[in-house]
């Protein structure tokens, strides 16, 4: 008989799911009305924007890098959708996603070609991108006029009694999981996160994989921003500012290590649900809205402290 004690790795990979179940159980016990069909649909619908941002971010964090430009790129995506819908209709969505991919590619080029650490490259890109969003929108929220609301219908309408945004979220999730699990690129970025020098030595073009990862993160961020704009029926040049911490928290709480190499988009689904269930649950239980940010920050620090593989860091800077 082999020992049946689970290893540290197994405990850590099950921990987010167990935590999500415990969290839901606590909230259900505290307020039994929580676990109804309609609340679940609300939770899922509210998760989609955050999940889309976090799914893209997962690729960058898998590398062991970080993308701080996510909220700026998402806001830009929202502004572009709101501005283009009157002239080009549905094509506004791909246009926004393309712009986001461009912003991500720019971060990636700065990071890879100029050898600038990713957090500063994306901080700077974030500054440039939010400047562009403010410039395009003349620093105002761009409202999508009533006669164009039908273009928003694919996002905010219902199909078979389910909000369509949930179906969009499922598609985003499938695309993300497919890229991360079943493509050469997806395997390469995990390997880069686990040990970049070895990947380089085995002949993989590390820089190119990084460029793709940042481009995907940008495209996903803009997609999330576009969905947010459709839900809000307006594009706010600073509309996604508050989403950076929840997005990073969703990735890390789900079990993707900040040092890279372990985790993935599938984990981010669980992480996003934890973040959203915490937020909605706390509001349900009457926890002060302002106290939630404190809890997020603390949960983030705890999650990192637990998942961090310190063997990868000789020196902690």
């Amino acid at each position: 008989m082999t020992a049946t004690f689970p290893s540290r790795g197994q405990v850590l990979s099950a921990a987010p799911t167990v935590f999500l179940i415990l969290l839901t159980a606590i909230i259900v016990l505290a307020s039994p009305g929580f676990f109804s069909g309609s609340t679940i649909l609300v939770i899922l619908a509210d998760s989609v924007v955050l999940f889309t941002l976090a799914a893209g971010l997962s690729f960058v964090i898998l590398l062991g890098s970080i993308d701080l430009s996510v909220p700026a790129v998402a806001s830009l995506g929202g502004v572009i959708v709101a501005m283009l819908i009157p002239s080009i209709g549905l094509a506004a969505y791909p246009a926004a996603i393309l712009a986001g991919a461009g912003a991500g590619l720019f971060s990636g080029l700065v990071h890879v070609l100029l050898r600038v650490p990713s957090f500063i490259a994306t901080l700077a890109t974030g500054g440039i991108v939010s400047g562009m969003a403010l410039w395009l929108s003349s620093s105002r929220t761009v409202t999508i006029a009533g006669e164009y609301r039908h273009v928003l219908d694919p996002v905010i309408g219902d199909s078979f009694g389910i909000p369509r945004i949930i179906l969009i979220g499922a598609v985003v999730c499938l695309i993300g999981v497919y890229i991360q699990r079943y493509t050469k690129f997806g395997r390469a970025i995990r390997a880069i996160g686990a040990g970049e020098s070895a990947v380089r030595a085995s002949g993989i073009h590390v820089g190119r994989q990084k460029l793709i990862a940042f481009t995907i993160a940008g495209a996903f961020a803009a997609c999330g921003g576009a969905l947010l704009a459709a839900r809000m029926t307006s594009g706010n040049p600073a509309g996604a500012e508050q989403l950076l911490l929840p997005a990073i928290a969703a990735v890390l709480v789900g079990g993707t290590a900040i040092t890279g190499g372990t985790g993935g988009v599938g984990r981010t689904v669980v992480g996003t649900l934890i973040v959203i269930v915490m937020r909605i649950g706390m509001t349900f239980m009457g926890v002060d809205v302002f106290a939630q940010q404190i809890l997020f920050g603390s949960v983030l620090i705890c999650a990192i402290a637990l998942t961090l593989d310190r063997d990868l860091l000789q020196i902690v800077k």
């Binding site: 590398l63 600038v116 957090f119 410039w135 920050g297 800077k317």
Partner: protein
């Protein structure tokens, strides 16, 4: 220190050629007043960055310290209350920084994640304390720092100058300052030489927090109110200033005076862009490009194997 100095001189000449009123005493006084708070922030962040770490909690610490300042002033806005408020702001900043430093060293979490978490913890605390509102402090004696002028410059500018002089000495001449540079230069060697790595690291974050706290108190005095958004946009300009000043993000190179030059460069460019009629929202974009150029030009020569 030469490149940022040259950039500052070139920028000054270029802007004054375009608009001679840039060099008027009134405008230079304005540049000094605008720079006071960013200088405090950049000097605090410099210690952290020289060490090769990063502090993203700037805006959160400002929000929390500003909330505490405003709350003390609400109880007593006289001279005693103002002194207490100033002290409370600095102590709040030190305490928040110390928490970051201890989490970073004891739990061995990279500084940028700890401080990202602390940003939101402290901003959340500030929102909680203020109930999401704003506390007006229009009549407090604390505002003397901004309103009272000595030799044409507000008291706050002189206060900041004195503190910067002290910080520059501490960074360049004290044992602690040398430890910080040594850790940033090569932590392995510093450790083998018997330097107190953990204690120094934690202390640096606490000191940086103290600087942010003082900056928060000055912001409250300047705006005549305390609210959670009082530090908005400060993180970006602080890191821009430190980096443009020539302090290397990989640690070990740079200094307090570099960051002062960096802040002046950012302020002069901002002021110049206003004089030249550049829309304010494009300034952030210009600074973003400048960050990239500054970091790229300083890291291009350091060919490390792996950079994340």
């Amino acid at each position: 220190m030469a490149p940022p100095l040259i950039a500052l001189i070139v920028a000054t000449i270029a802007i004054s050629l375009y608009n001679p009123s840039f060099l008027s005493a009134a405008n230079l006084g304005r540049v000094a007043s605008i720079s006071a708070i960013p200088v405090l922030l950049a000097v605090g962040a410099t210690f952290v960055i020289i060490m090769g770490s990063i502090d993203l909690s700037v805006q959160g610490v400002i929000a929390l310290s500003a909330a505490i300042t405003a709350m003390v002033l609400r109880v007593d806005d006289g001279a005693l209350g103002s002194v207490l408020a100033l002290g409370a702001a600095v102590v709040t900043g030190i305490a928040t920084g110390a928490v970051s430093g201890l989490l970073h060293t004891l739990l061995r979490i990279p500084s940028f994640m700890v401080t990202l978490g602390m940003w939101f913890v402290s901003a959340g605390l500030a929102t909680l304390l203020l109930g999401g509102g704003t506390i007006a402090v229009r009549s407090a004696d604390l505002r003397v720092l901004i309103l009272q002028r000595v030799f044409g410059l507000p008291l706050s500018v002189w206060l900041v100058l004195a503190i910067v002089a002290f910080a520059a000495l501490m960074q360049a001449r004290s044992r602690f300052g040398r430890y910080v540079v040594a850790i940033g230069g090569n932590e392995e060697i510093a450790k083998l030489s018997g330097l107190p790595i953990r204690r120094t690291r934690a202390a640096v974050f606490a000191i940086a927090g103290g600087f942010y706290g003082l900056a928060a108190a000055l912001s409250v005095a300047q705006l005549g109110q305390g609210n959670v958004d009082i530090g908005d946009g400060r993180l970006f300009t602080t890191i821009t200033a430190v980096v443009l000043g020539g302090t290397s993000l990989t640690g070990g190179r740079g200094g307090v005076l570099n960051s002062v030059l960096g802040v002046l460069l950012v302020t002069v460019l901002g002021n110049g862009m206003i004089l030249m009629g550049v829309p304010p929202y494009l300034q952030q974009a210009v600074l973003g490009v400048l960050i990239i150029l500054a970091v790229a030009s300083s890291t291009a020569r350091i060919r490390e194997g792996v950079y994340k």
